[in-house]
């Protein structure tokens, strides 16, 4: 659907180049939600703009529906852009047009038949839940409503692809979730491929199928969201996961725990649905070891359970080692020594 082949983008003068994107190769498959995460300045926003050629790559090729976008004429490019909807962090609605006018604008550009226009716009507004706001101006709407208008406008020309530039970054957590749900609905009901960029791991965890982590213009890690959560390789990736997983103890809390709890502390990482089996209680019962869950969380990730717990075992060392051996076969297991572990 969208394919980046060794893509690079350099800004600025030749003697002082700024390399925003470097040697990126990615493939976004049809019908999936693909997320690119990175801190600000990582190059993800530039990468996104290469897809509809708001920025022109300086190296490599970008294929959209098997066509190299860098080689098409400007007229073809305008047609291609109607096949790619785009939404923005700051919504970028036309302030001088009503909600109806905003959604109708791309249709008018595409020469949509006039007598069907009203019906189409109403249908889109119903889809995003704003049918009663058609005659209002953007200034009268809340942030979440503005983004809904942005989504309706992006979907007006029935695109195959929706690209989202930090679409929820200007919204509060509750509104963020509403917009994410709406994006999921767009993906499922219209089978639209979504490529989004974000700096919030929450967004990736909530709706993405696959993810790429970007740093300094490069993709440093890429893959299925569950796998990335389960087995992050790079420090940056671990930091992003830590921001939503909430599984690292603060040094202060750990010190207190070690003082108050006489047993040994272990971290158990659940993956791949094992969390549904009572392995912990089974193993500890077998060797007569007391356990106490102190800290951690188990979340749903792409329909599977995924989590990380800190557990205290109280018993003599020999028994604890038996439990460790048994559990080690099915879950990741390590002793908590400092706050990083």
């Amino acid at each position: 659907m969208i394919k980046f082949e060794s893509v690079g983008k350099t800004f600025g003068p030749k003697n002082k180049p700024i390399r925003a994107v470097e040697d990126v190769s990615l493939a976004v498959e049809k019908g999936e939600i693909y997320g690119v995460i990175g801190y600000s300045g990582a190059g993800k926003s530039t990468l996104l703009r290469l897809v509809n050629l708001l920025e022109r790559p300086t190296e490599g090729r970008i294929l959209v529906n098997d066509r190299d976008v860098t080689e098409i004429s400007s007229k073809e490019l305008r047609h291609l852009r109607r096949r790619i909807g785009m939404i923005f962090q700051t919504f970028n609605l036309f302030n001088s047009r009503t909600v109806f006018g905003n959604v109708a604008y791309p249709l008018k550009l595409g020469g949509y038949p006039k007598h069907q226009l009203k019906q189409r716009v109403e249908e889109l507004l119903r889809f995003v839940g704003l049918e009663d706001k058609a005659d209002q101006y953007p200034e009268q709407l809340s942030g979440g409503q503005k983004q809904r208008v942005g989504i309706a406008r992006a979907l007006a020309t029935s695109p195959d692809i929706l690209i989202c530039d930090e679409a929820t970054s200007a919204l509060d957590p509750e509104t963020t979730n509403e917009i994410l749900k709406l994006l999921k609905k767009v993906n499922e009901e219209y089978n639209i491929t979504i490529l989004l960029i974000t700096h919030e791991m929450h967004v990736i965890r909530s709706i993405c199928d696959r993810v790429a982590v970007m740093e300094q213009g490069r993709v440093i890690e890429e893959g299925n969201v569950f796998d990335l959560f389960a087995n992050p390789q790079k420090q940056t990736t671990q930091n992003f996961i830590g921001s939503v997983q909430n599984d690292k103890l603060s040094p202060k809390l750990l010190e207190k725990l070690k003082r108050d709890h006489k047993g040994r502390l272990f971290r158990i990482i659940y993956k791949d649905g094992i969390a549904s089996e009572p392995i912990l209680s089974r193993a500890t019962k077998k060797y007569d070891v007391d356990f106490n869950i102190i800290y951690g969380s188990i979340n749903e990730l792409q329909g599977k359970l995924f989590g990380s717990l800190i557990v205290e075992f109280t018993a003599e060392n020999g028994k604890i080692n038996e439990v460790i051996n048994e559990l080690g076969e099915s879950v990741e297991f390590r002793e908590v020594i400092d706050h990083e572990s």
């Binding site: 291609l80 852009r81 923005f88 700051t90 036309f94 001088s96 791309p106 550009l109 020309t157």
Partner: protein, 220 residues
């Protein structure tokens, strides 16, 4: 020397009409040229949709040369050109010509300033929807800037009322001419007072209308 109001009244009316003609004709002509020049200035700006350094530099230079010249001096300096284009340097139409030139460049700058202040994200959104530069300029930019643009035009209308009074002193007719010949040169302060009051009323009406109309379009 006391003015005879029975003959002066119609003169006053006629002069007010001349002033209004000068201002309105200049406004229409210069809005058209100013809008074109302003849009040209904006789109040829660095990093913009039709970036062109040479056109931008020439336009920019012209505006910066014409704007600081005091209008009354410009009026006199350009009179050979006025004679060539209009056929005379005296009368209402001879005043409209220099006024329109200056106003066009001022409006060009006002248009450019208002377009620059539009969020570039909005232009990006229109581009991403497949709009060409013509559609972006007339379907998005002009519409988005309309509210502040009307306020800018109001400001210029008020300046034009001022200009027209000046044009009057060099034979342009209108209230300025009246105030000079009947008021200043004949030492009749009552004529001065009346023309001043009429000018103030005209300015008030212009500002009121401008505010009213722009409010309809201001959306942020």
């Amino acid at each position: 020397m006391k003015v005879d109001w029975s003959t002066f009244g119609p003169r006053l009316l006629e002069s007010t009409g001349q002033t209004l003609t000068m201002v309105l004709v200049t406004l229409v002509v210069s809005s058209l040229f100013g809008l074109i020049l302003g849009l040209l200035l904006f789109v040829t700006r660095k990093g913009n949709i039709l970036e062109n350094r040479i056109i931008f530099m020439i336009l920019n230079l012209f505006i910066n040369i014409i704007r600081p010249i005091p209008f009354i001096i410009f009026l006199v300096t350009i009179s050979p050109v006025t004679r060539f284009v209009i056929g005379t340097t005296i009368g209402t139409w001879a005043a409209v010509f220099p006024m329109a030139i200056v106003a066009s460049f001022v409006i060009a700058r006002v248009v450019e300033n208002n377009l620059v202040s539009i969020d570039p994200g909005i232009i990006e959104a229109a581009k991403a929807m497949g709009a060409n530069w013509f559609q972006i300029v007339f379907g998005v930019l002009v519409l988005e800037a309309l509210g502040p643009l009307i306020l800018g035009l109001t400001f210029i209308t008020v300046a034009l009322i001022d200009f027209s009074a000046m044009a009057g002193t060099v034979g342009g007719g209108g209230l300025g001419h009246l105030a000079m010949t009947y008021g200043y040169q004949r030492f009749d302060s009552s004529v001065m007072l009346v023309t001043i009051v009429i000018l103030i009323i005209l300015v008030q009406i212009a500002q009121f209308l401008g505010n009213r109309i722009s409010r309809k379009f201001l959306r942020r």
